[in-house]
């Protein structure tokens, strides 16, 4: 609250009139209340735990879980411990959150720019999508996408939007890389190319600062980026293998499978959150003063480069803080996986609670995990924000 001068009343004792004393008394009383409530709750809880014959402590984490998990990003089997099961759930949550944030950013920026398109039907179409996406509960959207996913036809009549990509009621099948020497050298080549690209940019900036003219490095950069992985492949004894799924019998063989649950959850989260990000990006672009557009146009820059070089970097300052909270929302919303049966952290925690009865400990663990994830996201986004902040002000 904004500080307010103390009211004077002479009818009370001097001590009571001393605002400092009064504050101390109030705080002490509040603290005592909070502690009393906590003690009372703890007392009730320990009584209930004793009566139900429950165990206390984290020892259960080392016991064998004895339940299977549909899909996991880390190797897991029912013979593993509860700790491993929770870790598998956490890995699923992290993977969903990571890809969700990535795709949301890509589509959010795209739709945010399209929302401001001079083509009225295009911008209105995006507007309709934004309103539907924002105003329908995420859980309902997830149920909808999930029911669509499971009602798709079987593998034999799978939809194939791209060659090698199959959408069926078994989920999504994508081509995958097979890890061998070739993959290692290709990745090595890519890393080398990345370093070379950064060096080229640094050199170009130096030249630009000295002469005012920026050398054309794009062609060189693309050449290096394309050739280095190929050179890596040439070096390797075995060329890179891409595992393309194909229909054999009643199901697909090869490639990477994404379950219907994963596909529905990822799609639903992206569909929902992108609606919010689109509005954030639109607001950010509109917050850049009109004079910036006009000045850039006066310099003869083409529209796409105005957007990329002048407008978006400035819009980023307005975009990043709310974007960070959308990333956090997406991560938290990934917990809705429990409703459609994707084994995320909450879903697995629920199973663990049902099996062990140790609700207190498991809830403590998953709340700690979410708090850590969210703090990590906001720390990363704060650093990004600092990078885009106005310098020299």
């Amino acid at each position: 609250m904004t500080p307010v001068a103390p009211a004077r009343s002479r009818s009370l004792a001097d001590l009571w009139n001393d605002i400092g004393v009064r504050k101390m008394v109030f705080q002490a009383a509040l603290l005592a209340c909070v502690i009393a409530v906590a003690v009372l709750l703890w007392w009730n809880a320990s009584g209930n735990i004793a009566r139900r014959g429950l165990e206390v402590g984290f020892a259960f984490l080392h016991r064998t879980a004895n339940f299977a998990i549909g899909e996991s990003m880390i190797p897991y089997s029912p013979a593993d411990t509860y700790a491993r099961a929770l870790l598998a759930g956490l890995s699923n949550t992290v993977v969903i959150a990571f890809f969700g944030c990535l795709l949301t950013t890509v589509f959010g920026v795209l739709f945010g720019v399209l929302r401001l398109s001079p083509n009225p039907s295009l911008s209105r179409l995006v507007g309709v999508y934004v309103e539907i996406g924002r105003n329908v509960p995420l859980l309902l959207q997830l149920f909808f996408w999930y029911s669509l996913c499971t009602r798709l036809s079987g593998p034999r009549q799978a939809i194939s939007p791209l060659p090698g990509v199959f959408l069926s009621n078994r989920g999504l099948r994508l081509p995958s890389f097979v890890a061998n020497d070739g993959l290692f050298f290709a990745v090595l080549g890519l890393v080398v190319a990345g370093i070379a690209w950064l060096a080229l940019q640094w050199w170009a900036r130096r030249v630009q600062e000295r002469t005012g003219r920026r050398p054309h490095i794009l062609a060189w950069g693309l050449t290096v980026l394309a050739l280095a992985p190929l050179a890596g492949l040439q070096l390797a004894a075995s060329p890179i293998a891409i595992d393309v799924p194909e229909l054999r019998g009643f199901n697909f063989v090869g490639g990477q499978e994404l379950s219907p649950e994963f596909a529905a959850l990822l799609f639903g989260l992206v569909f929902y959150t992108t609606a919010f990000v689109t509005e954030i990006v639109r607001g950010g672009i509109q917050s850049v003063p009109k004079g910036q557009w006009e000045a850039a146009r006066a310099l003869g820059l083409p529209a796409r480069r105005i957007m990329r070089l002048v407008i978006l970097p400035q819009a980023m300052r307005t975009i990043i803080p709310p974007l960070a909270s959308q990333y956090i929302n997406l991560t938290k919303n990934s917990s809705l996986a429990v409703a459609i049966g994707f084994p995320d952290l909450i879903n697995i925690s629920n199973t663990v609670i049902n099996q062990t009865g140790q609700a207190l400990e498991v809830i403590f663990i998953f709340m700690g995990c979410y708090l850590t994830l969210n703090l990590t996201i906001s720390a990363l986004m704060n650093r990004l924000n600092a990078a885009f902040a106005m310098k020299g002000h």
Binding site: M1, T2, P3, V4, A5, P6, A7, K23, F26, Q27, L30, L31, V34, L41, N44, A45, G47, N48, I49, R51, E131, I132, R134, N135, V136, P137, L138, L139, L140, Q141, F143, F144, S147, L148, R151, K332, N333, S335, L336, V338, A339, I346, N350, I353, A359, L360, I363, F366, M367, Y370, L371, N374, L375
Partner: protein, 317 residues
């Protein structure tokens, strides 16, 4: 694409009839929604109590409509809301008035969605205000406790708060005391809503210039009077659009009670899908549900936009 959508949803859709008629047609099966409408609204509430649900929903609707007019904003509206909520809680359960009892665990469908949303707002609003004042207080203990509450709640998913409420609350209650799952869900929503509203109120409180409280104290207003008569009216008015957005968020999130076993509107939609007489019409059910939620939330956001322009016009005067 648009033509296909039109054909599915209107031209070739079935509005009357049974499942066989629907399967024969190629369009949407709205007859399914019409057949289940009673179930969506009343859920498992006993037949004899349906009229009370209708009456309660009408009263709540009327008071919401009255609350939209700024001329009514004031203490009497607040009292009307408290009175209505207490009355509805007793009236719907029925035993206090000698009516056929409809215990809390039979409540389901639309009435649960409306009830949870309204009660969550009614309880989270004052609590959020206290938390916001606490967060800005100069007393360290008060401030730290408020910050801990707000940040903890905002840092974890709503589902985990609902789990906390449904699993932990029974553990913390003394022996023999039991709370209905609906009440536990409400406790969860109060905790959840209070933290989000508190951050909005904080923004509002911080937007009131320092001079306002200085001016008030130079008029010899007490701290309480300054807060009630000078600071709060300005602070709350400054963040009305953000408040409405939080209301929308809470309303949408009421659908999550499904996860801890409360049958809200979405719950009845989902339950209706497993009726053996009407298998395979999930798209229609979800589209109908989406239309309902969309209408309410979009209506609220239109209202928020209207308020925003009306208030800024007033501000400029």
């Amino acid at each position: 694409m648009a033509a296909k959508l039109y054909a599915w949803s209107w031209a070739e859709a079935v509005f009357h009839g049974d499942a066989a008629a629907c399967r024969a047609a190629s369009g949407a099966c709205w007859a399914f929604i019409a057949d289940k409408l009673d179930f969506f609204i009343f859920g498992f509430v006993p037949e004899e109590a349906h009229w009370r649900v209708v009456l309660a929903l009408c009263l709540i609707g009327a008071l919401i409509a009255a609350s939209l007019y700024r001329a009514f904003w004031g203490r009497s509206l607040l009292l009307a809301w408290v009175a209505l909520l207490v009355f509805t809680a007793l009236f719907l359960q029925g035993s206090a008035f000698g009516l056929t009892p409809a215990p809390l665990r039979t409540w389901s469908g639309l009435v649960v969605t409306v009830w949870i949303a309204v009660v969550a707002l009614a309880t989270a609003y004052p609590l959020g205000l206290i938390l916001a004042l606490g967060r800005l207080s100069q007393m360290r203990v008060v401030r730290l406790l408020s910050i801990a509450w707000i940040e903890l709640v905002r840092g974890v998913p709503l589902i985990s708060i609902l789990f906390l409420a449904s699993i932990m609350v029974p553990l913390f209650l003394p022996e023999g005391v039991e709370l209905e799952v609906l009440v536990r869900a409400q406790v969860g929503f109060t905790i959840f809503g209070s933290a989000y509203l508190a951050e909005i109120f904080r923004a509002g409180l911080q937007s009131v210039p320092q001079g306002q409280s200085e001016g008030a104290s130079s008029l010899a207003l007490t701290r309480w009077q300054t807060l009630r008569l000078v600071i709060l009216p300005q602070a709350l008015k400054a963040v009305i659009p953000a408040q409405v957005n939080t209301f929308i968020m809470i309303f949408k999130d009421t659908s999550l009670v499904l996860v801890i076993g409360v049958f809200d509107l979405l719950g009845t939609f989902k339950a209706s899908l497993s009726d053996p007489a009407w298998l395979g019409f999930s798209t229609e059910a979800y589209v109908a549900g989406a239309i309902f939620y969309f209408a309410v939330c979009f209506g609220m956001s239109l209202y928020s936009r209207h308020l925003e322009t009306a208030l800024s016009r007033e501000h400029r005067k």
